[in-house]
Each structure stands twice: as C-alpha cells, then as structure tokens.
Amino acid sequence: MAGDDFLRWLRREGRIVIVGASLAGLRAAETLRAEGFAGSLTLIGDEPYEPYDRPPLSKAVLLGKASPHHTELPRRREIDATWRLGVAATGLDTAAKRVRLADGDEVAYDRLLIATGVRARPWPRESEARLDGVFVLRTRDDAVRFRRRLDSSPGRVFVIGAGFTGSEIASACRERGIAVTVAERADAPLVGALGGVIGAVAGELQREHGVDLRTGVMVTALEGDAAGRVRAAHLSDGTSVETDVVVVSLGATRNTEWLAGSGLGAGPRGIACDAGCRAFDFRGIVTDDIFVAGDVARSPHPLFGYQFLSLEHWGNAVTQAETAAHNMISASSERRPHIWVPAFWSAQFGVNIKSVGVPGMGEQIMITQGSRAERRFVAAYGYQGRVIAAVSFDNARWLEFYQRLIETAAPFPPDFATVDRRAEGRAPMPADFPDPSLPTHGPTVTLSGYSPADRRLVFTPSRH
C-alpha cells in the first residue's frame, strides 16, 4: 500500500493499542478519536482501575479533602475502547506487532503507544521494605493504605527523601498535627529540582511548620519490632528516630522492564523517542509504528540543546500524549514536534510552588521579583547567558512572562527593571545544584508564535 492509502486504511479500520491506562494513555485515546480514528482501540493497564489522577494523592487526599478511591479523570469525550485493566503487558514482539499480557493473551496492533509511566522506587532492602508501616506513595492502592494509616493518628511519620512528593507528604502530616521527621541526603529539600538557593527556602518552610528536618544524612536501616512493625529509622550520622510510619519517597523507576528483548531503545532512563514521539530501537533507528508518551518517554527538546528530557510532569503527559496520538494517524508532513516547555507545580506548607523550563540546567539564579524571606518571589535561572527556567513561590501570575523569556532564549541575567525588585535581586548568584549536567555548546533555538498552527522553531546558528 502507498503511504496515503495505508493512512486512510489505518484511520478507518486499523488497530491501535495503548499500553498504560493512566493520564497519558487516556488523553491519547481521546485525541485519536477526536481526530477521526475509527478503527479499534485497546487500552492495557496493570492496575485494575480506570484512569485516575495522581497529583491529589499526595495533597488533597492526605488532607482529607478528596477520597483516594475517587480521583478518576474526567473524560473529554467517548473513546469507544476495549479496556484490558488489571493485566500488565509483559512483552513486545515488534516483528509480529503483538503485545504479550500477563494472563498469556496477546494483542495485535498496527500502531502502538507506550505510556507505561513510572513506579515508586522501593526501599532497597526488601526485608525492611516489607515491614508493616513502611509505605511508598504512587498509586491509588498506596494512597488508600497510607491514608488509612494517617487516619489512625500515628505518633510520628518518617519521610525518606525531601523531593516534591516527600515534602508534600510532610506538609500534609503537619497540617494534620502529626509529628514528622524528614531525612534528606542533600543539604536541603528540593535541591535536585530547584537547586540550593531555593532549597534553603524550602528547608526554612519545613522547619517553620514544625518538621524535624535532617539534611546531609542517609537512612542506613529501618528497624522492626518482633511483630514485624517498623519502630525506628537509623541514620548515617549515628542517630536514630523512633517512628511507627515510614514513607519511602526516593523518586521513581521507569516501567520499561517488560520491553527487555523487544529491540526498543528502552532502559532505566526510559524509552528514547524522536521529537515526534516515535520510539528509537536500540540501534538508534526510529520506528514507524511505535510511539511513546508521558513519564516513560525521553525526548529531545530543541530549547534545551536537544537534550533527551525525561519529564515526570502532569502537563508533559497530557501534551505529549496529544502529540503522539496526532502523529500516529498523520502523514509525516502533518506531524508535530513535542515542544512543550516543561512546567510543574507543587503545593506545600501553604505555598504554591510553580516552575517553567528546566531549572536543573541552571548555572545561576536571580531573584527578579519579591523576596525569599517573605516566601513570595520569582527567580530566573540562567544557563550560558540565557534564561533557561524560572520558579515562583506564591507568584504564579508572573510566570508566563518568564516562559516567554525561555522560549525566546532571552539573555541572562535579565537586563531590565521589574516591579518588586528587591536588593537581593540585583545580581545573579550560583544556583547551587549538586551535580549540574551541562549540555554541549551549540546553536540557539527559540520558539515563536502563539497558536499551535503558527508555532515555529527559529534556528540561530552559533556565532562561535
């Protein structure tokens, strides 16, 4: 079949399989139908639940403002799909174009979308991880169990890892009046995501709200009692903390093991794909029929030196799913690149933290508006003389301006006056990331245009 004929056939009666029935999988399915895909659509998910929203699980659910059983995502439209829920995909045969399932079934596809996401990284020592009272928080079942334990008023909750999820858990516990200890290997919370300057502010917030924050330490062991319940955590500084609940919040692992032997370029860092969301095989050759979206994807971003970004961001899952779905049923000339500017939010200790761009690339930071002491500010991150990211604490309404600066590769430090500039914002300072990963020097690429139809990448060759 010629390309056009194949596409017509695919759109009319082809088989599309989506592995991963969460946010990205659902939004992709909706987009496929919205764009006229009339063939068969199958969604495969290892959890027995229809797609639900995860961000509330560490916020509204823990505060008792939402039920962990009821965060199902609203549907944008009917999708008329076959759902295979509660059964994991266990293998992929790219030659035969079939997905193997845990129950022995196989599902054939003409186009495949992989959106299997990530799972919580467990406590590495299995015997300790199995102790009663040791939790992770990622899924609905995790949230049900953890919330039940919080409702029983534990004496202390011990959080391992002060990233966003760990900090949000600590915040919710404090709001409920539960004593909390947070242990973090770095010198402050959120350092990996936002650097030491902002991490210091996050650390002050925690301490002001009564968190027993221990930084620069590692948890060396979890100790159980005779009944198999956790009773203490031991730290690398020789101290130990008695606790009846431990939450392991050490980040996530990408769900790619089921692709072992499939020939796809899949590994612990995710599945590499091109800007159009097509998966690479392990030889670095792009596939025609396998697409990737959401947390499990690694895709090159023109604004950030074509680095392969892995983004565990809600908004990335939605946008990448929409782009992947569109591209799956479009001719190559109609395909779109996934050029979403990274953005995320976190709410903790009553403060709304939002970010755009890739703060982790930042070498320097400048407080352009407001004040850290007041916990209301905007900070811009600079990399090689351009604005690469920004973060706001309770100042979200300014952030879209900074997104524009990022998109247009505006110079850093910003050379203009802003309202609410304080003394601390007169000069940039080191952003203080523990281990900056620096991409190579290169040409500059910027985005222009407002609507999806007129968005353009503007390529400016390097002057050196």
Binding site: Q369, G370, R397, E400, F401, F416, A417, V419, D420
Partner: protein, 414 residues
C-alpha cells in the same frame, strides 16, 4: 493635524455607541503611537495578555505621573494615598490581600455563595417596583440601584446616603475618562475635591466601625489583624473609596450592556428564559463582546519593551485596549458575533495578572442573577431606543439610559 487621531476618535463621544469599527482599525497597527509624548495603544489579544503579565509594566501612580501628567496621571492633592489598583507589588499585594480577607478565599470563601439569595431578593424587589409601568429606564430603575445596594451592604455604607456619595462619585468617575477635549484642569480639580469629600465621609463611617465593628468589610478593614498587619487609616479610606466606586460603576454597565445585547439578540433572550443555566455562558460572552472596562489607560513601562517589533521606550504610557483584544480575529473566531455557545471565551473583560478585577466574582454573580430575572419576568421586552444614549466615559462605557418597553410582568415563579 487635519485628521483627528485614532486615539481622539476613540475617546470622542460621537463614537461611544459603537467603538468597535475604530478598534478594528486600531488592530491594524497593533502598537500605535500617534503623537510624541502620547500613549502607546496596544490592541491585539496576545500582546495585551502578555503585557498584563509583564513585570516591566507598572501600575504605580507615581510612574504614571512621571510619564507626563495627563488627566489620569496628575498629582493627587487629596492627601489620600493611591489605592491598590494604582500601586505595584509589594504594596499592591499587601493591600489587596488585606482587602480580600473579608471578601474571598482563603479567609472568606463562602461569603459570595451566602449572598446569592439576598441578591435575588433585591433583584425581584426592583422588578416588582416597576409596578404597572409598561416602560422603564433600565439604568435608573434597575442596573444602577441593584449593585449600589449590594456594595453598600457589603461595605457597610448606609444605602440612604446614596444621593450624597453619588455627587462625589460622578466627578471622580468622569475624571477617569481620557477624553482629550474636555477641560482637564477643571475636571481634575472637581475630582480631587470629590475624592476628598468621599474620603472624609468614609472616614466618619470608619471611625464608627472602629468603635463598634459590625459584620461588614469596612469593619474588617479597620480591625484587620492578619499577617500583613493592619491598614493605616489612610489606606483604609483609599481602599474603601476604590471598592465603593468599582463595586458598582462597572456592574451597572455590564448589566445594561447585557440587557441591550440580549434585546438585540432575541433568540438568545428566548433561550435564556427557557434555560436559566445559559446565563453563565451569556455573561462570559458579554464580558468579551461588550466589556464594561474598555481599556486600561494607567500603565507605564519601567524598561524598554518590544512588542511586535516596536520598541516602547522606558517611561512611556501604555493603554491596553481590552475591548479591541476581545474582538481580535487572531484569537477568536468570528469575533464580532455575540455567541454564548462559543467553546472558547477566554476574554480580557476583567483584565488578567495581579490587577485582575478584585470584584469579578461579585460582578459575575450580580449580572447572572439580574439577566436571568429580567429574561424571566419581562413579558415581551423590547428596546424603545437603539442605540440608547451613552454615558460620556470612554473607559467605563455603557448606556446612560436604556428605555425598555414590555407588556407586563410575569410572576416570580413561572
């Protein structure tokens, strides 16, 4: 100049009834600077939206005055400090947070919801008041008294004092009109005198509330004890003047523009009568189609800003023409059509960014309730004069009178 500039034509009262063709012309030059020392007019949706979130754009009255004193930027001799609408952060944020404590979330999330029945009662009382008449002036008999009653009650200003404070409010509002023809010095003097009087009047009330706090916003402002500390007495007065005026002047126009638009689109009016839920979308579309604040003429830039290839130099005045942006075909399909069914109505009617309208939810609720009730209760309503006579003001644009004929009143419950 032999030809009047576009800015002059926009502010010219002769074009008040239908400024939209002028806005269309304006959008052809998205950043228009007609005269040395004059303002830069920005009229396309994305540019306005961008500037409303741009920290290089200041709302500070002092910056505006420095940018060349016009009617809007002249020095204030009333002794009252600028209200938060004419301040930048951090002062703006602090005052707005304190003002918000008794009004909205996080501290008073239920206030508005709890007012719904009261608002409906005021509305039905006003409509009942039409009595046996078969013709009313919807402005004087409905669209003005309704929000005035509401803001008086919320703020704690005696409703019966309305004739007194109206005499002060009118010259203040008139001074917000950048009509380039009128006698500027005289108008400004009158406005400042009125602002002084209104401030003194409110000072009397504030003093009472300090002694005997009641359940109203004025009491909350004079007794505020939040983390931002109390407002100074002068700050309370500036804020109260702002809330009293902004609390009704714009809503009058929104309601009147709303009924005028519905009477010009009888099919939508008929649907509203049958489906009251439609009012929610009607009000949003109205805020796009006939925004009660047509433009924001009080901003200046504190750095050079490039917009569509035009550099607006530091220190310039900027007018953000919201009503033009709301009808920008780059942003809205078929923008000159009033269509409450449009899927995307992300209008600029309340502005955006940190200065977005403080009273927006109240204005929304008032207008929703007002239009639903008028649609249900007026039997066979029709416009007796189209276009109606307009108020002078080019910024706060709306009919001065709206004569509506009808065959009678339907009972409260259909």
């Amino acid at each position: 100049m032999t030809h009047a500039s576009l800015l002059q034509r926009i502010t010219d009262y002769a074009h008040r009834a239908d400024p939209y063709p002028l806005y269309e012309e304006l959008r052809k030059t998205p950043v228009l600077h007609e005269e040395e020392g004059g303002p830069y007019l920005v009229s396309s949706y994305w540019d306005i939206a961008g500037l409303l979130h741009d920290p290089r754009v200041s709302s500070d009255a002092a910056n505006l005055a420095a940018a060349g004193a016009d009617v809007l930027g002249g020095p204030d001799e009333t002794g009252l400090p600028p209200s938060f609408i004419r301040l930048d952060p951090p002062e703006h944020d602090r005052l707005r947070r304190i003002a918000n404590r008794p009004f909205g979330p996080p501290h008073s999330p239920r206030l508005l919801d709890s007012l719904r029945d009261d608002l409906a009662e005021i509305v039905s009382g006003l409509i009942d008041g039409f009595g046996d008449a078969r013709e009313v002036d919807l402005v004087d008999q409905f669209a003005y008294p309704f929000p005035v009653t509401v803001i008086c009650r919320l703020l704690g200003v005696p409703r019966e004092d309305e004739p007194r404070f109206r005499a002060w409010v009118d010259p203040i509002v008139a001074n917000l009109d950048p009509d380039t023809e009128a006698g500027e010095a005289e108008r400004r003097r009158a406005a400042q005198e009125a602002r002084t009087h209104l401030g003194m009047y409110l000072a009397g009330l504030a003093e009472q509330r300090q002694r005997e706090p009641r359940d109203d916003m004025l009491s909350a402002l004079v007794t505020s004890q939040g983390p931002d500390g109390p407002m100074s007495v002068m700050e309370v007065l500036s804020t109260a003047v702002l809330l009293l005026i902004a609390g009704h002047e714009t809503t009058v126009n929104l309601i009147t523009n709303g009924m005028l638009t519905l009477l010009r689109h009888p099919e939508v009016l008929r649907r509203l009568r049958e489906d009251p839920d439609l009012v929610v979308r009607i009000v949003e579309e109205l805020l796009r189609y006939e925004p009660p604040v047509q433009f924001v003429p009080q901003r200046t830039c504190i750095a050079d800003i490039e917009v569509r290839g035009v550099t607006i130099p530091k220190g310039s005045r900027i007018w953000l023409v919201l009503a033009a942006g709301n009808r920008d075909p780059e942003r809205f399909k078929d923008p000159d059509r009033f269509d409450p069914d449009r899927e995307d109505i992300q209008h600029l009617g309340f502005g955006s960014g940190i200065h977005s309208c403080f009273g927006a939810p109240l204005a929304r609720m008032e207008t929703q309730i007002a239009l639903t009730a008028l649609a249900r209760r007026l039997d066979n309503p029709r416009l007796l004069e189209d276009p109606p006579p307009y108020r002078r003001n080019a910024v706060l644009r709306g009919p001065r009178h709206l004569r509506v004929g009808f065959d009678g009143l339907r009972p409260e419950r259909a």
